[in-house]
Symmetry: C2
Subunit: 644 residues, 2 copies
């Protein structure tokens, strides 16, 4: 096998390992040969034209490969994925190899023009777009069928021949990043640009949102503190606080879009063209003709999928919702029992016991959320969506509906059925704080501790093998491949979404919620940063221009919170006292105020432009230039045609 | 001057007049010479490369010119404006001259490949894009300043040197169209494709919407009739009717988007790229650098405009709204007076008198709407918006707010302050029917009659001059140039919008409104068709892919009508009787139902896709192809670069 590597070996002097491919142990020789040949093969022959090198480990395993690429290849790949970079005139443009000289910091010998995460993203893209030509199956594995145009890597992954592909950490860079990010105790912004360079736009945008959201909560928290300290119970103060909160939440969500546009413009993703979406790895079906591409590929009847969704998934979700409500009723029984116990005993212990049901319920909610999460993933995957985006949308919808009900149903019940504001406040506080503690623990500290323990074991094993010098790359790969895989920002956004619910849905009852949210988010930034840098494998950078469906989710939550807060204020005894004669006037007033607030929200969302003026001008400028270029081209053509 | 025409004269055999340019009488010779030279000049020299011919009239006036273009020039122009045509494989593609052979019905000698209205649109586009090079002013008119890049035609228009530009009618085609459209008494669809060919997409889309909306109202009308015939007053029937109406109105607005997508895909405008928007003709400012184009052109400070909007326009609109409410109060005084009179006399005459205030008020409303319309146009024009789209948005917003209040304030007052359902029904009927009659009269019949009288005079004058043969073109131009100018679909959509308000806002009180709306719309189709074919000059075709801001306006109206109908039902004595003990329960139930309906509306709007599946697939296919083409190109480039 070594012979066929000659073409790579000549380039080995400037081979920089970027991505690790781990094949299953005992993968057949012919498969490896075929796969590596396809990777290094010329583009013209349908290859990826990348560099690949086996990792020579101490025990002679040959199932790990390092992938790299020549500088030129990466630049062409950057053009292929539509990377947008800054030009010398400070405008952002899609990178093309022919216009490379006009880009800032470009020099033919400057290997740092593309960041390492960009290079890794390019390699991932090229590997995923390595497609079968006339192979009917993966050599050596007759059951792994191929058809022209099928992504080879995806087939290898679904058949378990390919265990994983992941990008390598850059230890130097990571150390620097860690230092500026959370290494020093300081108050200030996160180094978002550096995070973006290292982890890519999706993750940087999450941290940007987390930071922005924390700052945005501070005014709410500051205004909320005196309500707690002075135990204000005046209705007008509550009304003011709630009104402020509702308008504020609209403003922050609108302003976020603008900030997001500024950031993603600077990063180039705002201008990036959407790529054509290929079927997701798990998609299967019978071979047919895709009506869009005209290619032969698996197709799956949309009716079958609809049937699966409406006859299985929807009933299942409803059942889960019912179960969640059932658990809630058990919680209320427990609550009643604790109250009775306290009434009987009136001891210090029984007072503490009052909090126990809420804490237990909070833990149960977290567990149910996590179990449901797996069920939702299984179901959505079974629905067999063709596109990753459609899969994600169905998954997010399922998870959001359940989590919303699971977390907030008891609070709604307490507020609008039991009318017990004291219990609501207590329940809200317990749920919020418990879930925050659980999350911080389950998300970062536990994996971190596991990781530490594992590393220690690894190190011991390494040392026992007496191989400690010059093996740093092998060591690095070996340790990184054992790290957990970061599954994307879904859970992190979900956590923020639920937190936003706790803060805004019942804000006028418990103004202190914002304070806890701020405190949690400050530590969350640190623990998430730790998680990214220390616990997980480096994730592939994923270019993105916005936070996607989460924007909509947060906006929906903010609309719902207008309704709940208006009702809460309407129910407060202080407001009731204002309308001693007629409950009707009270309700009509509340309804009027609610509609007014909703109308103001919509007008505000409509009036505040989604992009700041300077970004709008820059985008218009780019559009104008491309139209002008097109016109020039057509004019030239026209002049030629008319001359004939 | 005649000498310079040689280049045109040679082509005169196939000169087909398409567009008429009318210059002011007494325009200086040098100006005419310069302008016509710029029009016929080669593209390479900055001209429009069109053909132009003076119209020789009986009294020797030389201020009217006919513009045409060679077939090749029109094809190149079609590429320039981004026209989308059907290909031989039934897909829709942007026309390019180099790929002309792949288009359906294309042949080098087929002059009908482009419809006449498309040719006229191309010529208009080319004329408007005829730009000043180094001229500092229009020759002969030192006060008419020019700067490089300024549209010459727009400057000539704003300086009154150019009186008008309009496309010629095609008498043969028009006759055919008239026949299929409204010439025969038949029940069926309008010939929308023919209307589109003759008048362009904007107008065809209006007629398509009018027809669709009429069909969509039929179920409401059918369900509404028995309520009137049997005088049903059961609450459950009203609730059913209102619920049906509210959901139905959401469905029809969503389905319209799909129908619109199907139509505009067939017409090619769905795929047409947006052109870069030039400043609108009326825009003025001091010369500066446009940040988008980098060209020198008039700029106007955005702050100044904001000041004008917020310090003048907004207060003025508020004043108008106040005035409208004041007039409403006078109407209620009149109403009271008529009621008192009836009480006193109880005669047949006094019974009729009861309707008089409403009729007077309806007339006053119409007059106020029209006066306000002029004021709004003046103000919006004075706000000095740079782009036509921004001008239109501000104008539409101003007009919509005022018209909404003006038309519906009295109804809201009767319904929610006076609680007088009988008066509401009577007022609604009077307002609706009166405004429909007035509109039909003012919009079509009056102009038609004026036009007829004018034509008769013209004919008499012509005959008295004894020049009746061989002058048909001169006659046609002369008669058409005197016709009124169609000012766009604004007023037509506004009328439908207000009608939609009358039908949906109080639908549960007056189910018969839909019946009147349907009847009105059937005649409206005929009178609008008559207006387009007989009363006005032919308008330039205007490509468009949707009904724009009107979709939003109709959707907003449908949201408001959920609120009003829920309140109306909640107020009905039948529903009140259901909650004899507690008004509170009643109001809470109504509020709950309202929120549920609103939620269902939003979910429906979200779930129903805006484009039918086959259009989605076709669009995806086109996108895929263009991405593939790009990729192929990049692969080729990459292969070359890697070979080097």
């Amino acid at each position: 096998m070594k012979e066929s590597w000659s073409s790579v070996d000549t380039l080995e002097t400037n081979f920089r390992p970027l991505v690790v491919i781990e094949l299953a142990k005992g993968t057949k020789e012919e498969t490896i040969e075929w796969f590596t040949k396809r990777i290094v093969d010329k583009k013209a022959n349908g290859g990826a034209q990348l560099l690949i090198k086996p990792l020579v480990t101490e025990n002679g395993d040959e199932n790990i490969y390092l992938v790299g690429a020549s500088h030129l290849r990466l630049l062409l790949g950057a053009e292929n994925v539509g990377l947008v970079k800054e030009c010398n005139d400070n405008s952002m443009r899609a990178f093309t190899y022919s216009s490379r000289k006009t880009f800032k910091d470009f020099a033919d010998d400057n290997q740092n023009f593309l960041t390492m995460s960009e290079c890794q993203y390019i390699i991932k893209h090229e590997l995923e777009n390595l497609r079968a030509k006339d192979e009917k199956m993966i050599p050596g594995y007759p059951q792994a069928k191929l058809y022209p145009g099928k992504s080879i890597v995806r087939r290898l992954l679904t058949n378990g021949i390919l265990v994983q592909i992941f990008p390598l950490h850059d230890r130097e860079e990571l150390k620097k990043l860690r230092h500026t990010w959370y290494g020093q105790v300081k108050i200030g912004y996160q180094p978002l640009d550096e995070i973006r360079c290292y982890f890519g736009e999706t993750i940087a945008l999450y941290f940007g949102f987390l930071e922005y959201f924390t700052f945005a909560l501070i005014p709410m928290a500051v205004i909320g503190i005196p309500y707690y300290v002075f135990a204000w119970e005046d209705y007008d103060k509550y009304v003011m606080f709630a009104t402020f909160n509702l308008l504020w939440s609209t403003v922050i969500l609108e302003v976020w879009k603008r900030i997001c546009a500024v950031m993603t413009y600077r990063w180039g993703t705002l201008l990036m063209k959407r790529q054509f979406e290929e079927p997701r790895p798990g998609f299967h079906g019978v071979l047919g003709i895709n009506p869009v591409t005209g290619r032969e590929e698996p197709v799956y009847s949309s009716i079958k999928r609809q049937l699966r969704i409406y006859l299985v998934s929807v009933p299942f979700v409803c059942l889960c919702l019912y179960f969640s409500l059932y658990v809630m009723m058990i919680y209320f029984d427990l609550e009643q029992w604790a109250l009775d116990y306290h009434e009987e005993n009136k001891s210090h212990f029984s007072n503490l016991m009052l909090y126990v049901p809420s804490i237990i319920y909070a833990v149960v909610i977290e567990i149910m959320n996590r179990i449901y999460r797996y069920a939702a993933e299984f179901l959505t995957s079974w629905e067999n969506h063709r596109l990753e985006s459609s899969y994600q949308n169905h998954l997010i919808l399922k998870v959001l509906v359940f989590n919303f009900l699971n977390c907030f149903a008891s609070l709604f019940y307490i507020a609008f059925v039991l009318f017990d504001m004291k219990l609501l406040r207590q329940s809200l506080a317990t749920l919020l704080i418990t879930s925050q503690i659980l999350n911080q623990f389950a998300e970062s500290l536990l994996p971190y501790w596991l990781q530490k323990r594992h590393m220690k074991k690894m190190k011991e094993r390494m040392h026992s093998l007496k191989m400690d010098t010059d093996l740093s790359l092998v060591e690095q790969v070996n340790s990184e491949k054992e790290m957990g895989t970061y599954l994307g920002t879904f859970d992190d956004y979900l956590e923020l979404f639920l937190q936003f619910g706790y803060v805004s849905l019942f804000s006028c009852v418990y103004p202190l919620a914002a304070v806890f949210a701020v405190l949690n988010n400050i530590t969350e930034i640190y623990s998430d940063a730790l998680k990214m840098c220390r616990v997980y494998k480096r994730p592939f950078a994923e270019p993105t221009a916005n936070i996607g469906v989460w924007q909509l989710a947060f906006e929906t939550m903010s609309v719902i919170s207008v309704v709940t807060n208006c009702i809460l204020i309407g129910m407060s005894p202080q407001v009731n006292a204002l309308f001693p004669d007629s409950k009707m006037d009270l309700i009509l007033t509340v309804a009027l105020v609610e509609h007014l607030l909703l109308a103001i929200k919509f007008v505000m969302a409509f009036v505040i432009p989604d992009k700041p003026r300077d970004i709008q001008i820059k985008l218009a400028k780019l559009e104008f230039e491309s139209l002008e270029a097109l016109k020039q081209q057509q004019m030239k053509l026209a002049a030629e045609s008319l001359k004939e």
